[in-house]
Amino acid sequence: MAVNQEIEAPAGSERRARLAQAPVVIEARGVEKTFRIPHNRVDTLKERATNPWARRAYRELHALRDISFEVHLGEFFGIVGRNGSGKSTLLKIMSSIYRADAGRVRMAGRLAPFIELGVGFNPELTSRENVVLNGVLMGLSRREARRRLDAVLDFAELRDFMDLKLKNYSSGMMVRLAFAVMVEADADIMLIDEVLAVGDAAFSQKCMDFFRERRAAGKTIVLVTHDMSIVQVMCDRGMLIHDGARRYIGDPEETALRYYRLNFGGEVEGTRAHVVPDVNVRVVDAWLENDAGERVDNVEQGAPLGFNVVVEARHELANPGFTFEFLTADDLRVFGISRTLELSPGQPDRLAPGQRVRVSGRIQNPLLPGRYFVSCWISRNRAHGDLALHILRLLDFVVYGTRRAPGSVSVESDVRAVPEPLPEEEA
């Protein structure tokens, strides 16, 4: 299947109904956290001793105010918010890194927090030692951690380097090891903060695959992110935090919508190309076909691409525009296709709520062998150039073949290299 984004099928609503009945595994009640930020930081005993009565003025930063929520067993729960909204503080309280000033957090089961990829790795130790240490840090016994070591090293394909100190690892090897540790953590609850922010496109793809697999396996995951496409595609429920307070909890689409509203709703300046605060289109299906009409995710070099996307308007959408960009694995744009609705005379240029649009056709394939992504932008009110939906990585596919050349595309040319006759030797 070439479709990369999981499609919201009717099964989704069944899943949600089932999850709502599942036992609660995380329960937060009235969690508060305030950081006191002194105007003049006193950080030596000398200063403290020389002015013992100096008034220490604080600015109080209410990182979290009265946050309550529950997460059910097997749920994929997204926490979203702008930078500084308090979402990472909340995750740190859940991970026992910070202590809440008030309120109560309770959890059931073994927890594996991933505040960052590869956190707690000691560069002076070998990867074998680091993996065992990391396992114990995540609550395994030493024996269990040793048993897990093999699985981690195999997954990371680093068995040959297990006695090498981490400081001698390349950054790619380090990411592989850290990711393997996460995959093999096998905790009941995983708390993940922006792990996807590091690494390249291929890496975030791997992360998405991992999330999908965990989700299907019925594991409880709490993910803190700003990437609304993940929230829309993966999460069963979402929670929006703004200025330390809970603004919304529930439907992921609605969470994403409100997040966009918070981010872009108040903006008046920037009349052109500003983002519409609505998430009002969803992708029903997207795939590539070969000439025989079969869905494929590998395409032979030079063979035309049968491109198909079906989207559905959630609300009325006036003057919609559809742009699809073909990107390399390094996020370089190779080419794009922009289309507006083909209308019969007198038909209005708008989509009714629930109405679907099929964008499809054959695309000549100049791509050189490699991995490519298709991202999709759907805009409405084209005149203002604003954006209704931006789904990253609608599709990914591999072009295979043997004719390689520099760059990303091969072009028709009659450029030739012909040797010129030698100049006559002067006598």
Binding site: S96, I97, G120
Partner: protein, 280 residues
């Protein structure tokens, strides 16, 4: 997931032993053991290096105090006493001064994982204990070579080590947990520990010190430890802790200070532990 695993348990935030005592012990063991391996097996001269420092200090001090000050003639077995004292005090100094920055150096672990805070300074002290034990092997070889024969009281040396270990741990806990908040703790401690070095009978024996200084030494909680070590291991005729302090009643003062430091350490550390991640 079993029914039992589904029971909701309170998340209490970071603390000295957060995440359970068993996990803390396993982490302590792993960190201390890997650190130990790194010191002694990482470099070819690992053990030689760790011995070189006390031995060189010993050589210099022995030369100065026997040749220049003629202490050797007034204190029986002065050379081995000096060596033992230097190794013991070296342990105390190494453990506490390394512990000062231990939590700050582990910043990323403290700020990003649920790490039992107490394990960090404890691992440092434990590593110094390994060092001490290896150095003591050499010290006892010297002791035997100098003609002191083993006695039953050598078994009591374990009490000395335990006493020294406890106070080194207590001070390490205080220093490491205050350092994130007050960054000059290390500087202040280097001054205090130098004063302690001279205020403890390391270079000299307590009976050759005259009155006013002797009263100061009598307050020092480290002094009884060194005095007993000398009596039990090297010279049974040396004044013990009580005699040096001038009676059992007066001995209560350094013991009181010792206990106070330990209680203070537990209090400060458990008060600071939950907040360390925010101070860094």
């Amino acid at each position: 997931m079993s029914e039992q695993a589904l029971e909701l348990r309170d998340v209490r935030g970071p603390s000295a032993l957060g995440g359970g005592a068993r996990r803390a012990l396993e982490l302590l063991y792993l960190i201390a053991a890997t650190e130990f391996k790194r010191t002694y097996f990482g470099t070819a001269l690992g053990y030689v290096w760790s011995l070189a420092r006390p031995l060189m200090l010993f050589g210099v001090l022995l030369a100065v105090f026997t040749q220049a000050f003629h202490l050797g003639s007034r204190v029986p077995h002065y050379a081995v006493l000096l060596l033992l004292n230097i190794v013991l005090f070296g342990f105390f100094q190494e453990a506490t001064s390394t512990a000062v920055n231990s939590i700050v150096n582990q910043e990323s672990v403290v700020r990003k994982t649920q790490f039992p805070r107490l394990v960090i300074p404890l691992a440092v002290v434990l590593n110094s204990v390994f060092n001490l034990v290896l150095n003591l092997v050499v010290v006892f070889v010297f002791i035997l070579a100098f003609g002191i024969s083993p006695r039953w009281s050598w078994l009591l040396f374990g009490v000395v080590l335990a006493g020294l270990f406890a106070i080194a741990t207590a001070i390490s806990m205080i220093l490491s947990s205050l350092n994130p908040r007050f960054r000059d703790v290390g500087i202040i401690w280097s001054v205090i520990s130098t004063a302690l070095f001279y205020g403890t009978p390391v270079l000299y024996a307590i009976e050759i010190v005259s009155r006013p200084l002797r009263d100061v030494v009598a307050l020092n909680p480290l002094a009884p430890i060194f005095e007993e070590a000398r009596k039990w291991v090297i010279d049974p005729h040396a004044p013990g802790a009580a005699a040096a302090a001038g009676g059992y009643a007066k001995l209560l003062v350094p013991i009181g200070i010792y206990v106070a430091v330990c209680v203070l350490a537990v209090w400060i550390f458990s008060r600071e532990a939950p907040r360390i991640a925010e101070e860094l």
